[in-house]
């Protein structure tokens, strides 16, 4: 089908310019690449050049960042409909998959987007997708398209429509920010002149728990993103920190010094119902829930050095904590993968602090990075990528590594130190 493209009035163009994308808060650089990447060609969509925001470049960047795709240059070829595709041309360029599509700007400024995903070898269409979006939401549409392609070709869930949270320190100012997974559309949730650490997404993605030092000591708050209202959920005598949501979103594990030392407690998401979870004379901190909500993994120095342990939520906890890490004298900051099969953590390797992953069944440990100061690893909801904080030339930046360690990328801001990343959940079905 050939799509006629109406001449659009100038005022629509003006609106597009006004809705031009916000300056990216995070720039992305990609390193390395896996051996088994899917070669994919993405042809710029029909009439896309007239939009204020390119769609295909966002789709391509998303797929490339995943480490599972290699972009094949489509230059010189411009099919927009399956009928127009001459498959041998794409076979000769080495493309395994082909993405084509078109855009139509509707009266009123909305954009109708149509996409087809083709299997070059089999010469068939694998998926098609169409959506009408406001011109200001073309990036979001592009992320949904990338998710669709990713799911069709890898069989795994795409995470391109998710969001990340992190803390930016600039001078004496601290900002807790939320951005799209590719670093765009960054917005401050809260800004302070005192430190903010340990942001944690509620499982439904509507709230963030975090630790603020605005009151001369660490206090755990839960803030609702849409309304910006917040509540102190752990503000007991002593220190309150390390919030982690239970998978049902009803409770938070927090670390309190209320009863001496630093121990893990459970509180209801509204701050009530305090219940002690860990019982040790050492430090127990950095809880992370298993996806079934039945146990937590956490950092403890009960054995003399900080190591990762696991214990059930119910029952006599202290007696049943099981040590998980044994290599080295410093293993901290665990994050459970959402399929429950592994966890990522920070392993001190000589004088370096690196991201590692451990398989819970085989106990196999793999170091994923070789930088100097890595911190706070956080799994993507599909477990394929780990976002973490690191340091480059004395500046704090975010970095991401695929869970096979083969592809890394850096996300950096124009200014300031970025740290404490937390990868948000998959968007809820609409």
């Amino acid at each position: 089908m050939q799509i006629g493209f109406p001449k659009f009035p100038l005022y629509v163009l003006f609106l597009w310019l006004a809705a031009a994308p916000v300056q990216a808060a995070l720039d992305i650089e990609i390193f390395g690449g896996g051996a088994t990447q899917i070669p994919i060609a993405i042809v710029p969509f029909a009439h896309e050049e007239k939009l204020g925001q390119s769609i295909t470049s966002v789709v391509g960047a998303d797929l490339q960042r995943s480490g599972l795709f290699k972009l094949v240059d489509p230059r010189g070829l411009a099919p927009h409909e399956p009928m127009e595709v001459v498959y041998p041309e794409w076979v000769s360029r080495g493309a395994g998959a082909l993405v084509i599509g078109s855009t139509i700007t509707l009266p009123g400024g909305n954009v109708a987007v149509r996409v087809g995903l083709l299997d070059v070898a089999k010469q068939v269409q694998l998926a098609s997708y169409s959506e009408t979006v406001p011109a200001g939401q073309l990036r979001a549409a592009a992320h949904r398209i990338a998710d669709l392609i990713y799911e069709k070709l890898t069989g795994d869930v795409g995470v391109f429509s998710t969001r990340i949270a992190y803390v930016v320190k600039e001078g004496k100012k601290y900002a807790l920010q939320v951005a799209d997974a590719d670093g765009f559309n960054a917005q401050s949730v809260i800004e302070y002149t005192e430190p903010i650490i340990s942001p944690a997404w509620s499982p439904d993605g509507t709230q963030l728990a975090y630790v603020s030092f605005e009151n001369k000591k660490p206090v755990v708050y839960v803030q609702t993103l849409a309304t910006r209202t917040r509540k102190a959920v752990a503000n007991f005598k002593g220190s309150n920190s390390a919030p982690a949501w239970s998978p049902d979103g009803k409770k938070l594990a927090v670390v309190l010094s209320l009863m001496g030392g630093s121990q893990i407690f459970l509180v209801n998401a509204d701050g009530g119902g305090l219940q002690r979870l860990s019982q040790s004379s050492g430090i127990d901190t950095e809880p992370s829930f298993s996806p079934d909500g039945q146990s937590i993994i956490f950092t403890s120095d009960r054995g003399g050095s900080p190591q990762i342990y696991r214990m059930p939520i119910t029952g006599r906890a202290s007696g049943t904590a099981e040590r998980l890490t044994f290599e080295g004298s410093y293993n901290v900051s665990p994050d459970y993968s959402r399929d429950g099969r592994s966890f990522t953590f920070i392993h001190r390797n000589g004088d370096r602090f690196n991201v590692a992953i451990q398989d819970l069944a085989t106990r196999q440990v793999q170091l994923l990075t070789d930088s100097k100061f890595d911190e706070s690893p956080s799994f993507a909801p599909n477990g394929r990528i780990i976002l973490y904080a690191t340091e480059v030339k004395g500046r704090g930046i975010l970095s991401a590594v695929t869970s096979d360690g083969k592809t890394r990328q850096q996300l950096s801001t124009q200014a300031g130190d970025v740290r404490e990343p937390a990868w948000g959940p998959l968007p809820r079905p609409q």
Binding site: I197, F213, K216, K217, P218, G260, S262, T285, P306, R348
Partner: protein
Amino acid sequence: MKKIFGVLLISLLSACASQTTQPTAEVEDKSMGARPAENGATAREAAPTLNPLTDPGNILSKRSVYFDFDSYVVKDEYRSLVQAHAQYLRDNPNARVLLQGNTDERGSREYNLALGQRRADAVKHAMTLSGARESQIESVSLGEEKPRGTGHDESSWAENRRTDIRYQGE
């Protein structure tokens, strides 16, 4: 560097303090030591009294206890400092103190928060042994989040292995 200076200063001041009288109830301050009181109690005194907590000649104006690497033991050189604050708390039952533990920047932020808590708890324990009531003391941690030494070397790290003593209202 700074740390050495601080330690030196503290030992000099300790020497001074031993010659002056320890703070007693006569300087009790209902505003809990943050400011000189403005009520009748202090107005009755013959000479204007310096707030012992801020008087640079008084050991109570010294507020930092430093720790060795990976250690949570209050060193002997800080005993007199900690004891003086415990004595002040004993003599001023309404006084309240916040002990803020700190660590250097290496390693996990949350784990460092727990280590800083240990440094604050160590000072709290020493103060209660010297007669301060537990209810007067809150020990908390700032972890690596509020470094006094902002460099990335041993001298800054040493500066940041520290517990600070802050009275309510300060």
